[in-house]
């Protein structure tokens, strides 16, 4: 009967043994490398999270906080900043209470509820969908990982490299905010004035447009069109044709603009909340405002390159 059933017992047993051996070897090899593999996977996913965070940052945060996290004066603070990584937590009284990474997480997820007395043009909105924002939980986690990854470069900054601007929400006045960093005494950040460096009076319009943070919300190089209104504020790329698309401005565009700057509530453009500061009348002279309006309406307006103090360096 066995002869009917061709194969021999012996060969089958050998097959079974060889197979078992292969399984044991494979699992053994895996076991041997598991520790390293898990370590590498962990680093991998941290890295991947930072990659994802970079995309989210570029799409959502960079307009205000800068492509390199350098911040934008009057609009949003620098994140790629030594002050931020070494002092900020202490200045908001959270040292030892939470980690900086949690502080960033909370701020990104829930935003900053109030902008009363804020030095920043816009309020930071909640970004997490949990609080009505546009980002999913995992995206918040990733963008926080990205922000935290500024640490290495931020800690290498010298005094003049730190784009830090004193925070007004800190109990200490600006000139005291960096006291106590004496551990590395050579680091005394340049004190950028909160609003502008040049004295009030005869500042150029292109300077004001940046220094007073108009540029944070109004894009000068993007046209005003039905498909591109501008995200935080109307685009100014075609503002010299203002009369053609804003009926209220048709009669006297200059007057309309001036009125809009001095009291933003005068004309409301549909689709924007009341993000525009209403104190510009006190931060510019009337003459400066007039020149700014003329400059905006000029299709050939010039924008100079300036140094940190506001001096023109491109000529």
């Amino acid at each position: 009967m066995r002869s009917l059933y061709v194969r021999s017992f012996g060969s089958k047993l050998i097959w079974g043994l060889v197979s078992s051996f292969v399984i044991v070897v494979c699992v053994g090899l895996t076991a041997q490398t598991e520790e390293t593999r898990m370590e590498i996977q962990t680093k991998n996913w941290e890295g991947r999270g930072i990659e994802n965070g970079a995309v989210i940052f570029a799409n959502n945060c960079a307009t205000c906080h800068g492509q390199q996290g350098q911040g934008l004066q009057g609009v949003a603070p620098a994140l790629n900043s030594r002050y931020f990584f070494t002092r900020r937590l202490g200045d908001v009284g959270q040292d030892g209470v939470m980690t900086l990474s949690n502080y960033v997480y909370l701020t990104v997820a829930a935003g900053r509820p109030s902008k009363d007395n804020s030095q920043w043009a816009n309020r930071m909105v909640p970004w997490s969908s949990q609080f009505g924002g546009p980002l999913r939980g995992d995206q918040v986690v990733d963008v926080v990982a990205y922000v935290m990854n500024f640490e290495e470069t931020a800690l290498q900054q010298t005094a003049s490299e730190d784009p830090f601007q004193p925070f007004l929400d800190v109990a200490k006045p600006p000139e005291f905010q960096n006291i106590g960093i004496s551990a590395d005494a050579e680091w005394t950040p340049v004190q950028l004035a909160v609003t502008s460096v040049l004295p009030m009076g005869d500042r150029d319009p292109d300077y004001l447009f940046g220094a007073l943070a108009c540029s944070g919300c109004h894009k000068l190089d993007e046209p005003q069109a039905p498909s591109s209104m501008g995200e935080s504020g109307p685009n100014f790329g075609t503002i010299h044709e203002l009369g053609t698309y804003r009926p209220e401005a048709a009669a006297d565009p200059a007057a309309y603009l001036k009125e809009s700057i001095v009291s933003p509530d005068a004309f409301r453009v549909e689709g924007y909340d009341d993000a525009m500061p209403d104190d510009f009348a006190s931060r510019m002279t009337e003459e400066e405002i007039d020149r700014l309006v003329q400059w905006l309406l000029d299709p050939n307006r010039v924008i100079h390159t300036r140094d940190a103090e506001g001096n023109i360096i491109d000529e």
Binding site: K12, V27, L29, T36, I40, W45, R48, D138, T153
Partner: protein
């Protein structure tokens, strides 16, 4: 002196022990004594009465199995053990699947993170996931091949029509089982494949029925938390239970009628599978058991080796309902449907044709009235089977992005060099082989890095290829700018400029970030055994 009655013979203690061990052995084997077992190992013929049949009567699991087979059907080349293998793979999937369930919660917040946790923190977690994945893909393939074998041997003919019909149901359940598992990692691959899949259900007429089916499957107009939970329950509970039910119906019929003999061994129209002459019986114990056991062990060895050295389960970016991937693809076993969708509308491709095919498949035993199972008598059946198979392959090919899908040329170029998902050339050479700088395809670029030079050559080459291939893509040139965005993070900015037919200059830009430590799922496999290689990758750059 009175005659003393002999003292009761006392067994030496070791013999007593042996006989009680023998008792335990008989108990455990449901009726095989150690002596009989040794006889089996020696290859002796069973005694009379044949105690090797006892387990088939006494043990639950063995009562399902026939006690002997016809010698002809035990030949490997008759069944190729494909039915057995299908059953085994189901068991294999159940075991690996339950292990995976330990670290998995079916919610959008947790699912993907749990996958990462499994890879990061669970010893053998990656292996388990890879095994489960390869087993699933294999099971679809093996069940299909099993169907092909029973088709070619005409085993669906009377009295086995119902066996075939339950088989078709098993195939459908297997496909759905695999498909429902596809969503669970909650990555882009999963999310979009399942979005397309369920959207086909929408085409079921009339409109409101389609909508209801879609709604039932997804739990909401779009796949989200409810959809994930539903797919999870289908995958771990409902479909496995259904499969077990139909398997037993199926297998009961298989045992009832016996496995059909090779056609030339019996007269046309006869079925002698159950009348096995005594001299042609091969007993399950021990021959067939040993045979099946070693076969499955060998298969397991192959699966394990392939998984450890070659295979890795994909894991793309987390599911993002807001971002449709560049190419959305169904799982490979539904490529044919995707192919159909490219040439017919949703109603035809998604409902009518698959529906008719399914009904026809189930009806084959009732349509094919030819009583003969011999190849020579079944030319029409064999040829139509082959034609159907070839058609499936062609349709499947049409379902891949290779056929009739073409993105904008600039996008295609970048997608080759640095795709949205997957490694692509750039991530394959990795962070350390991509030096900072600006590289213009119009200039002769010299670089010390041979790998990077290859990447740039490919950039130039792809632009040429697409210039020739695409009508509206003239004089293209590309710019790759690599900057150090953060510590250990490079930004690769791909820019392509070309002239359209209208003579205007067109521009395309794509930014991708690459972290020093990141590697994409296609790279996992090699690294599982080549640890030094990934250590080198970590330290370099």
């Amino acid at each position: 002196m009175s005659v003393q009655s002999p003292a009761p013979q006392k067994k030496p203690w070791f013999l007593a022990l042996l006989s009680s061990l023998d008792g335990i052995f008989v108990y455990l084997t449901a009726g095989i004594s150690t002596r009989e077992f040794r006889a089996m190992l020696r290859g002796d013929a069973p005694g009379r009465p044949n105690t090797r049949l006892t387990p088939h009567a006494d043990a639950f699991l063995l009562h399902i199995k026939p006690s002997y087979y016809h010698e002809s059907v035990t030949r490997f080349t008759h069944t190729y053990r494909l039915g057995l293998l299908s059953t085994y793979l189901f068991l294999f999937e159940t075991i690996t699947g339950i292990i995976l369930m330990i670290w998995y919660a079916p919610t959008p917040e947790r699912a993907y993170v749990d996958m990462i946790r499994l890879l990061n923190n669970v010893p053998f977690g990656q292996l388990m996931r890879d095994l489960h994945r390869i087993g699933a893909e294999l099971m679809v393939g093996i069940v299909t091949l099993h169907m092909v074998r029973t088709y070619l041997t005409g085993s669906y003919k009377p009295p086995r029509e119902f066996t075939w019909l339950t088989g078709v149901l098993l195939l459908v359940i297997t496909l759905f089982l695999s498909f429902s598992g596809y969503l669970l990692p909650w990555d882009q691959l999963a999310f979009w494949a399942v979005t397309i899949g369920t959207s086909m259900a929408e085409a079921v007429p009339p409109v409101f029925v389609g909508e209801i089916i879609n709604l039932l499957a997804r739990g909401a107009p779009d796949i989200g938390a409810s959809g994930l939970l539903r797919f999870y329950l289908l995958h771990v509970l409902f479909l496995p239970l259904l499969l077990i039910l139909f398997f037993f119906v199926h297998y009961y019929k298989v045992v009832l009628y016996g496995i059909s003999l090779p056609a030339q061994e019996e007269e046309v129209g006869e079925d002698t599978a159950n009348r096995v002459p005594a001299n042609r019986r091969v007993y399950y114990l021990p021959e067939v058991l040993l045979d099946e056991g070693t076969f499955l062990l060998a298969v397991t060895a192959i699966i394990t080796a392939v998984t450890v050295f070659l295979f890795q389960a994909p894991l793309e970016h987390i599911a993002n309902p807001q971002q449709t991937p560049f190419h959305t693809v169904a799982p490979w076993y539904f490529y044919w449907l995707q192919g159909l969708l490219k040439i017919a509308d949703k109603m035809w491709a998604g409902v009518i044709i698959p529906g008719v095919l399914l009904v026809m498949l189930m009806a084959i035993p009732y349509l094919d009235r030819n009583p003969s199972r011999r190849g020579a008598d079944r030319r029409v059946a064999t040829i139509s089977g082959i034609v159907a198979g070839v058609l499936m392959i062609i349709l499947s090919w049409m379902g891949t992005p290779a056929y009739a899908v073409q993105g904008a040329p600039a996008l295609e170029v970048v997608e080759k060099l640095m795709p949205e998902e997957k490694v692509g050339i750039s991530r394959k050479i990795g962070y350390k082989h991509i030096p900072l700088g600006t590289y213009d395809t119009r200039e002769l670029i010299t670089t010390d890095d041979a790998e990077f030079a290859k990447l740039l050559d490919e950039f130039v080459h792809l632009l040429e290829v697409w210039e020739e291939k695409a009508p509206d893509f003239n004089d293209p040139w590309g710019l790759l700018t690599v900057t150090q965005d953060q510590a250990n993070l490079k930004l690769l900015r791909w820019e392509i400029t070309w002239i359209s037919n209208a003579g205007t200059e067109e521009y395309f830009k794509q930014d991708y970030w690459l972290h020093k430590d990141s590697y994409y799922w296609e790279q996992y496999g090699r690294k599982k055994f080549g640890v030094p290689e990934f250590l080198e990758m970590q330290n370099g750059g």
